[in-house]
Structures are given as structure tokens and as C-alpha cells.
């Protein structure tokens, strides 16, 4: 029985998607919004077209990367799936994803639904969609979270999943996820890392004390893997890491990430401990979905980060990472990430003020650039570049980086040269949108010119 209203809703949605694309927009929430008005049960009904599993991926950081990795694995498997785009992770955006991929009568079947959503949207989504698994990447407290919003959100999620037939896939190393099992009574699967050679034993001075979610006491850590993820225990109530079902062992992060999960060896082109977690989470979910190891391994080995999304180059024996920054949040996250790597580094930041970058660059003052100050000893130089190199330099200076570490070099080419040639184990190249293309070209050219010892031959034909 084909419902006319439903068909109209889908048709309207698909038309708006097409029109948005022609107009050059992403068009990710309007189709879902309008179609739902025409036929309110739309998302619920379309979600029933998933014949195997529905996964929801949520958490503070790494949702998009983790979800994209799972999507790559599903694709390698040859499965069909609905997947919502990053930035379209509220209910309307998810509805749009279903509309985009279904047929006009809304009956096309899929193997899987893979839905990324903000933590705050999980309760709303669960009213409409019944997933088999919910994966939580991590809960990181924003520095601006002075009003306990994160705690409130976590409580909302707990309340929303209680009593439902859902299995949770949780980060065993995250103290903020350690109470879900007890408080929801749901079946919980855990992923986490064994001891690694990259672990640290002291918290950063400016890190807030972590408090036990069960009794409020300040936690003790035996070791930190990354940010507040690590081996923790509560001296008061005994709360500690749950035993992981999926253990990442023998983690290596140079030149790229490799580790083992049981007998399966995982290799990836990604960098950084935060990405190691994303990979581990994705693999855990894929294993729970019953996907074979060879498929998982192949998909991850071939999966590449997008241009400028932590894209890595190897130039003159040095790791060089290219990162696009667009707004305070992105800059906060990028700086927090690199401040935690424990390596000596050169930082290159190109700030442009063309229309696509935003002509008003005052957003750099809304970013908490101060996060890098505590690690200033490991920063060799900060090279400020682009059209507003001076503004960037002022921001860095007022973030408490000593003036003798600050270089103002408007030219992208010369600035990147300095960042790579300068003394450091790693170089980070951050840039706003209109500087990305040129910066990337420069790095590609340099990588060709100066291959590392891992490469067979230099362009001139000499063998090493």
C-alpha cells in the first residue's frame, strides 16, 4: 500500500536536495525538515528499511572520522548503507540522508544505517530510530563548559537509552563512560588500548582534575594515553577501567599508525593518538557487526584523510601535518591536539581574510590559543603567515608564547620552508581556507623534492 503523502514528502525532499546542489549549498537540513512536515512519520518509516544493523556514533571528538572509517569498511564489504554527512547530524539532517538514498516510494532496502549525531541529539533521535549499537567515542569537556553542560548531556543520554534494546560500544579508557553499564543495565562492549610507548605519567598542569562519575572524588591515573583517556582509578569508590573486549596492543605511531587487535594487525595512514582511538572504535563496531578481518584491514589501510584534514607529508625525515582551520572550535581542537603530542614542533599558521575566510579575523581571539602556552618549551618557532600574519602574531604573543619564538612571514612559501627546515621533530601547517590550496601544493612539491629514506629514489633518479 503506497501512501500518497509519503511519496509527496519524499519527492519534495529529493527536489530540494537537487535544487540546493544547483544553488551550490549543502542542502542538508531543509529537505528533512520540510519533508517531515508533510509526512511526520517519514524518518521512522524509512529507518525500517534497514535490514541488518543501525549504528549511531556519538561523542565529543572523532565522530566524523570514526563514522567515515566504518563507512569505508561497509563499502569494502560491498554492503549498502545510509550514511549522513558530517555537519548534518541532527534529526533533520539524518532524515535528509534517508531521503537522498531511498526510492520515491520509500521502500528501498539497505543493509545498514550509519548515523553520526551530536551527543545532545541522541535522546531525540532515539525517539524515532532504534539502533542496534550506539558507539561513544569520548566525552571531552570543552574549556568553555563552565555550566556543567557535558554532565547534563551525559545524563540525558543515559536516561534515553535505559530500558531500550540497545548495545553500547564504549571507550574503556574514558572515565566519563565508566558508569554507563551500571546505570543503564544495557549490554556494554568496550574498546581500549594496552600500555603504549607513547603514554605519559603526569597530567598537564592546566588540565582540570578529573572527577569520578560515580562518587565525585578526584581520580588517580596510572598512565595517560591521550588527554583524559588512560588507566584510572578512584581511591574512594574503586571505580576503574572496565575490561576491554577489543584491545589495541603494540601501538606504533611512526611513520603511521599500526596496532593489533587480537590476531588482526591494523595499518592506517592516519596520525596521532586521537586517530588511533578512532580506528580502534571503528574496528570494534565493524567486528560487532560480524565483518571479516581481511575486509576491515583492507578498508583501513586504504582509507585516506581528506585534503587538509590532518593530511600528512614526509619531508626531509620530518612529519609535516596540514590542517585546515576555519573557526574558533576548529582552531581550539587542532591546537589542543598538537599540544598533546609531546614532540618538539614548529607551528606554521597562515591567516587570510578573503571573503571565503571571513573578512573579520577577530575570531582568532575567540579561540583559546592559550592551550599551547603550557607546552611552549616544545615549540621551536611559531611562523605567522598569510595576509593577516601580523594579527596572528599578536594573538600568539598574547597567548603567552615568548616573542623570540614568533616569526612574521607573510609569504606562504618562505614560511613553510622555515617551518620545515627549522629544528623540530614535527611541523604543523595550519591555514585558513584560501591558503589551503597553495600550502598543499607547496608541500606536495617539497615531498617530491625531498623524499625520505623510506622512498626508493629521488626525482633525479639517484637511488638511496
Amino acid at each position: 500500500m503506497f501512501k500518497i503523502r509519503k511519496i509527496v514528502a519524499i519527492l519534495v525532499g529529493k527536489l530540494i536536495i537537487i535544487m540546493s546542489r544547483i544553488a551550490g549549498n549543502q542542502g542538508s537540513t531543509l529537505p528533512g525538515k520540510l519533508s517531515s512536515r508533510i509526512y511526520p512519520p517519514l524518518l521512522k518509516e524509512l529507518s525500517h528499511n534497514t535490514y541488518k544493523d543501525t549504528f549511531i556514533v556519538t561523542g565529543t571528538n572523532g565522530k566524523t572520522t570514526t563514522t567515515n572509517m566504518v563507512a569505508a569498511i561497509l563499502k569494502a564489504q560491498g554492503s549498502s548503507y545510509v550514511h549522513n554527512q558530517a555537519g548534518a547530524n541532527m534529526v533533520n539532517g539524518i532524515t535528509t540522508a534517508f531521503i537522498r538514498q531511498t526510492n520515491l516510494t520509500g521502500t528501498k532496502p539497505f543493509d545498514y544505517a550509519l548515523l553520526e549525531t551530536d551527543e545532545a541529539n541522541v535522546p531525540l533521535l532515539l525517539e524515532v530510530i532504534k539502533p542496534r549499537f550506539i558507539l561513544i567515542t569520548n566525552f571531552f569537556r570543552d574549556q568553555l563548559d563552565r555550566f556543567g553542560e557535558l554532565d547534563h548531556t551525559i545524563n540525558l543520554i543515559k536516561g534515553a537509552v535505559k530500558g531500550l534494546d540497545i548495545e553500547l560500544v564504549l571507550n574503556a579508557d574514558d572515565p566519563l563512560e565508566s558508569h554507563f553499564s551500571r546505570e543503564t543495565g544495557l549490554r556494554c562492549w568496550y574498546y581500549g588500548f594496552a600500555d603504549t610507548e607513547y603514554d605519559s605519567f603526569e597530567g598537564l598542569e592546566n588540565r582540570e582534575g578529573r572527577h569520578c562519575v560515580m562518587c565525585g572524588q578526584e581520580l588517580e591515573y596510572l598512565r595517560f594515553h591521550y588527554a583524559q583517556l588512560g588507566v584510572f582509578n578512584c581511591p574512594q569508590c574503586g571505580n576503574h577501567n572496565p575490561a576491554p573486549d577489543f584491545i589495541g596492543s603494540d601501538l606504533r605511531m611512526t611513520p603511521n599508525i599500526t596496532f593489533n587487535i587480537d590476531a588482526m594487525m591494523i595499518e592506517s595512514t592516519f596520525q596521532g593518538f586521537y586517530n588511533a582511538y578512532n580506528i580502534l572504535a571503528a574496528v570494534s563496531l565493524a567486528r560487532l557487526a560480524g565483518i571479516d578481518s581481511p575486509v576491515i584491514q583492507k578498508a583501513l589501510a586504504e582509507f585516506q584523510p581528506q585534503a587538509g584534514r590532518m593530511e600528512t607529508f614526509n619531508i626531509k625525515e620530518k612529519k609535516v601535518i596540514l590542517i585546515l582551520v576555519k573557526n574558533p572550535t576548529g582552531l581550539n581542537q587542532s591546537l589542543s591536539m598538537l599540544a598533546l603530542d609531546g614532540k618538539t614542533k614548529n607551528l606554521f599558521i597562515a591567516l587570510n581574510d578573503n571573503a571565503a575566510d571571513g573578512r573579520d579575523i577577530s575570531w582568532i581571539w575567540d579561540a583559546d590559543v592559550e592551550v599551547i602556552a603550557s607546552e611552549a618549551d616544545l615549540i621551536n618557532k611559531v611562523i605567522c603567515s598569510g595576509q593577516r600574519s601580523g594579527d596572528m602574531a599578536v594573538r600568539i604573543k598574547y597567548a603567552d608564547i615568548p616573542a623570540d619564538k614568533i616569526i612574521i612571514q607573510p609569504s606562504l612559501q618562505e614560511g613553510i620552508d622555515q617551518a620545515i627546515n627549522g629544528d623540530s621533530a614535527v611541523s604543523y601547517i595550519l591555514c585558513t581556507y584560501t591558503a589551503l590550496f597553495t600550502s598543499r601544493k607547496i608541500l606536495v612539491k617539497m615531498q617530491k623534492q625531498y623524499p625520505t629514506a623510506a622512498h626508493q629514489a629521488s626525482p633525479q633518479g639517484e637511488t638511496i
Binding site: 573579520d360 577577530s362 593577516r388 602574531a393 599578536v394 594573538r395 604573543k397 614568533i406
Partner: protein, 244 residues
């Protein structure tokens, strides 16, 4: 170490465009001068003793926020004006600046009362005055350029020609795009439309406030700060504006 206090007025309501950078700038410079500076956030309904603070800062907000702030500030208006007369340093950006005048008339005809501290009024129009702006001004006896970024629908007009502006517009719109004035200046109070934020690239202006605070507390500044980086940034923007 002397502890100086800056009151950050209504940070949850009046907080657009990175203006908190002004506070970061003041606090850091004072630290480099060897002074201790506390920033105290003042919310609606909070008690505020103007004798206990050394400077007030208020950023910009939208019309609705301005209305709420007005209702709160009007209760303290007499005291505040007295302190301003006595030389209390104060920096008011955009919406906060407009609030100091007699009224603000929005583009759809609604009139909002101002605190009436100074004889000027603002008329809002739908098309906004946006862009980089360059001023000529003077601080502590030195002529200086001021660079910033403006973005306002309001056009501010002085009712009294004796009112002193922050500076003369070399390029950009300023108070109203007509009379080449920008902002207002009275004793140690400055009201302006300039974002940027204002102080980091205009170190002379930042020091104008710091010197006002230290002077009123009998503190002498013995250090001279190296403003090379700030001056390079200032020059970069100045050249960009001139050549546009």
C-alpha cells in the same frame, strides 16, 4: 604586587566579535608591566561598587541584549556618571557605546532610551557600515593612527559640537559615514564602534587605559614594553586600508 580590577560588564549578553580580546590584551600587558590584574564578570542584578574597580569594559550585543542591560544599568546610572566624571577608565564597544547616548532609534522606528551620559543619539538603518577602518587620534601627547574593523547599522550623531570623538576617520565610515568622526572620548572613557578587537593592534590605546588605572592608584610604570609585533600588525592593516 598591586592588584587592579577590571569589571567585565554582562559578558553573557554583550559579547560579539572577539571583543574579549581587549581584556586579554589589558591583562597581559599589565602582567608584563609587573601589575596584577583581575577581571571580574558582572551579570544582570549583580551589585557593583564603582569604588572597588579600576576600569569598566562592555562589549557589543544585539538590540534585545542592549535593552536588558539598559534596565540594569539605569539603576546605577547616577553613580556611574559621577565616577566617569572623576576619571574612571571605561571602554564601551558598539552597542555599549550607543547605550551612553540619549536614545537609539531602530530602523523600524522603535526608540530605546539611552543612559543619557552624553548628548548624542543613534539612528539605525538596515544597510550596515562594515569594513576595516583607519583613524587619526592622539594619546598621551602623541599623534597616533588607530586601526579596527567596524560593523554597525547604527549611525551616531553628536548633538553638541564640543563632544570629543575618539578620532578622525581617514578611511572607513566611523560614527555615521558623514562627518568623519568616530567614537567618543571623555576623560578616561572611550566609546567606539571599532572591533578588531580594538586594543591588541593599538598598543598606545591599550596603554592609555593602563596608565589611567595606574595613575589613579599612585602606581608608576617603570617598564617599557617591546611593541614590535603589535606595531607590525598595526602597519600591515594600516597599509591594507590605505591601498584599498
Amino acid at each position: 604586587m598591586e592588584k587592579l580590577k577590571i569589571a567585565h560588564m554582562y559578558p553573557d549578553l554583550m559579547n560579539l566579535y572577539g571583543d574579549r580580546g581587549n581584556l586579554i590584551c589589558l591583562q597581559k600587558r599589565m602582567q608584563w608591566y609587573g601589575l596584577d590584574c583581575d577581571i571580574k564578570s558582572i551579570y544582570l542584578e549583580d551589585k557593583l561598587d564603582f569604588n572597588q574597580i579600576d576600569m569598566l569594559f562592555m562589549g557589543g550585543g544585539s538590540d534585545r541584549e542592549q535593552g536588558l542591560v539598559y534596565n540594569d544599568l539605569i539603576k546605577k546610572a547616577d553613580q556611574l556618571m559621577q565616577h566617569i566624571n572623576d576619571g574612571l577608565p571605561m571602554l564601551c564597544i558598539c552597542g555599549a557605546y550607543q547605550l551612553l547616548g540619549t536614545y537609539y532609534k531602530s530602523h523600524d522606528g522603535q526608540v530605546m532610551e539611552g543612559l543619557g551620559f552624553f548628548p548624542f543619539y543613534t539612528v539605525g538603518k538596515k544597510d550596515r557600515l562594515i569594513g576595516n577602518i583607519l583613524l587619526e587620534s592622539e594619546f598621551s601627547g602623541h599623534k597616533s593612527t588607530v586601526v579596527g574593523f567596524e560593523n554597525h547599522g547604527g549611525r551616531t550623531y553628536f548633538d553638541d559640537q564640543n563632544l570629543q570623538a575618539l578620532g578622525t576617520v581617514t578611511k572607513g565610515h566611523g560614527n555615521n559615514g558623514e562627518d568623519k568622526t568616530e567614537g567618543i572620548r571623555f576623560q578616561n572613557l572611550i566609546g567606539t564602534y571599532l572591533h578588531g578587537p580594538l586594543l591588541p593592534k593599538n598598543p598606545l590605546l591599550a596603554d592609555f587605559f593602563i596608565q589611567a588605572m595606574t595613575h589613579r592608584n599612585g602606581i608608576e610604570l617603570n617598564t617599557v614594553l617591546d611593541d614590535s609585533i603589535e606595531n607590525i600588525a598595526h602597519e600591515q592593516v594600516r597599509r591594507k586600508i590605505i591601498s584599498a
